[in-house]
Subunit: 435 residues, 2 copies
């Protein structure tokens, strides 16, 4: 659905002015997140592949141009120019799934000024949301622990269908095990998972008939036990699990979706164990997030897996990421805004990852110990990297997450976390010279 | 992008079970919002037209079926059935822009059980988000007052491009004056608006050159004055406005985007007035929402208009709406889930709007004084109503909003508002019989 019209009008009015004045020399814009970000001791960068895929479609159709003409803001010459628009610039970016911080550039776009400017809305829209969800998913995984199965159940509360696709992708990248979102499963090869709804149980004369039917019709059934009373539901599920076992078939789990999840999970575990069904697992859901999962575990809740929906897909405790896209350099050199409280990072930068995440942001001409995190991913408008292997990258990201130092893995609320980001002498000299 | 694959996997596994068992008699599902919704004394229903437009595309392509086949969950007969899938049911719904409440049905779907079930994710995804944004927009308008110009600046922080289109549409429906979102402007005829970014100002040797250039290149310029220092920026804007006036052209407004907006706006007003420019207006932006606009006005801030972005598009203080889609009736009669704390509305209902918003939810066979809010919008899978005239409906919605009774228009935070919704004797009898 992209196309060049997905932008804020001011991108076009500015571009028009640049066009009329021949101001189209090379400029660099940086995407970064302003510091601090409440409740986020780190971010997980995501959305690069979707952005690189959207760029070739960022063009203006005849219909688009006719619409722009109707606004009476632009002359024919500019509209013809837009008709020819193709992104031909270069992009440097962190790898998706990189643990990163506010205050460091995550992506740089270098292109003729008009091109770089016109991309602003697209870059911000995609990267802000995918990074937001990936970062939330990472926290949820840390709360659930490396043994738990954690899946995305967010489509019904996400902000549109496309948001759901991004949410499934970003949470899988972070290390989730699957999604309920069938379209995302098809598009990205993410494992799709699902249980049953209360309406299914209500569609049968009684709960046990519903359980029997579902167990017969599904190869790996999970039974939702709280339509009427969850403990009676557990007894019914146990009975059906025993019947199925005789037929050589296993009930994978029972699902709790309401009530005192921790207390109920212990009682359900006891019921299942007493029925000789230690292999039937417990799956919990219902407005979960990292805080509630930690509380559930602290209260002795027993769960093999968690279904996380609303609070993942909208990043409940931080529903938007304040990522910005700022001019940092043009033909006249490094650039920055100086208004109080909103400081930019001037110049083309590199981020060096040193031991224990003590990142150094430096100018590209400076060097440092550590590993450079920004790599060139596009040149002359052509992508230089293959499509991301999401499943493989997920393994690496999980490993990185579960070996984070404790100060970064800490999930307790914090209105203004500080980040282990330092700035190079060259960068600091630029900033103080401009103040 | 819709297509039939936009659903949670469990819709398909349940549908498969119904299919195998021949359980496909007529059923009714209701969409409603569970009560209470924090900080929302009313909701503004939105998203019906986008839903009705998506329904004809809710089909399964060959490629979709091949993907489903690969999951090894379904047999060929069921996949053939999905290949023929078309929605043929009926829908009753409130008119978009209707002021409504949690606890009352906003939409009813009656169709063969499998059809009605498969729509769940789509219905929830679209209605939850559009109603969420429209309701937030309504509150922002109430805070800004009927004289202010209020526009949507949310695309860069919305959850994907599609979310931005919904946000622009829903906020315009609620009464906003326009959006920065050019694609939404084209799709829905919403007026598009825009100013300039800091990067524009930084692209010129100094601020006043940037203002002069923009004023020459734009028919109705708004100048962003806080790239360096907002009061100096106001002086520069005043100078350019005076120069432009001599050329017979007007600077529409100056824009403040950071700092103490209320205090700065008063000083900027004084600067403009002293320069003999009472016609140059002040436009403010920067993480605004209803709470901040009320505070701005209380502190004596002066603004002709507000640009509202992040906190509108993600509904910052309530980032998801807990709308649900529940089986309420099937061939065996009214249905409801009885698990503690999560009560459904059994039976096919009508909502009667009585004086002063004292709504009555009743069974369809009951009658009441007042105006019925649910009307049939689709029969036999065909829509019965014309596409919404968004601009005309917006006028009606604005009128309704600005004449709300004070208890509904109250914007103060409230974790658990109560709603003026009553239930008919017939409905109450059904609920108590099932408890």
């Amino acid at each position: 659905m992209a196309g060049g019209l997905f932008l804020d009008l001011y991108e076009l009015t500015m571009a028009y002015s640049y066009f009329r004045r021949g101001m189209n020399q090379t400029a660099t814009f940086a995407y970064f997140v302003r510091s601090p970000v409440p409740n986020r001791r780190f971010l997980l960068f995501a959305g690069l592949d979707p952005l690189l895929e959207a760029l070739p479609n960022f063009t203006f159709s005849e219909e688009d141009l006719a619409y722009l003409h109707s606004l009476r803001l632009f002359d024919e010459e500019f509209l013809s120019f837009l008709g020819e628009f193709r992104f031909t610039g270069e992009i440097w970016a962190m790898e998706e799934g990189t643990i990163c911080f506010p205050g460091e550039p995550l992506l740089l776009v270098t292109a003729p000024r008009i091109q770089a400017q016109l991309l602003e809305t697209l870059v911000l829209n995609i990267l802000n949301y995918e990074t937001l969800v990936a970062s939330k998913a990472a926290r949820i995984l840390l709360a659930a622990g490396p043994e738990a199965v954690v899946v995305d159940f967010s489509p019904r509360r996400d902000h549109g269908m496309e948001a759901s696709i991004h949410a499934a992708r970003a949470s899988f990248l972070a290390g989730f095990h699957g999604t309920s979102n069938v379209l995302a499963g098809k598009l990205y090869g993410i494992p799709v998972v699902g249980t049953m709804a209360h309406s299914y149980v209500l569609s049968f004369p009684d709960e046990i008939s519903a359980f029997r039917a579902f167990a017969e019709d599904h190869p790996s059934p999970v039974l939702l036990i709280d339509t009427y009373d969850p403990l009676t539901g557990a007894l019914h599920a146990a009975r059906v699990a025993q019947e199925m076992r005789e037929k050589g078939k296993r009930i994978v789990a029972v699902r709790l979706d309401s009530g005192d999840l921790a207390g109920l999970s212990r009682e359900v575990r006891r019921i299942l164990d007493e029925a000789g069904l230690p292999e039937v697992q417990i799956f919990v859901s219902g407005d979960l997030d990292e805080y509630r999962i930690l509380e559930f575990r602290k209260k002795g809740g027993i769960a093999w897996g968690y279904g996380v929906g609303t609070r993942l897909g909208v990043s409940w405790d931080l529903p938007a990421l304040g990522g910005v896209y700022k001019l940092v350099e043009d033909e006249k050199g490094p650039r920055m805004k100086t208004s109080p409280g909103k400081i930019s990072l001037p110049g083309r930068a590199q981020v060096w990852r040193r031991e224990n995440f003590r990142d150094l942001v430096a100018l590209q001409e400076e060097s440092s110990e550590g590993r450079p995190l920004l790599r060139q991913v596009m040149a002359g408008g052509k992508r230089l990297i293959p499509p991301l292997d999401l499943a493989q990258r997920r393994e690496e990201v999980r490993k990185a997450l579960f070996s984070l130092p404790p100060e970064l893995a800490d999930l307790s609320p914090d209105e203004a976390p500080s980040y282990p980001v330092e700035y190079s002498p060259g960068l600091r000299a630029l900033v103080s010279a401009r103040r």
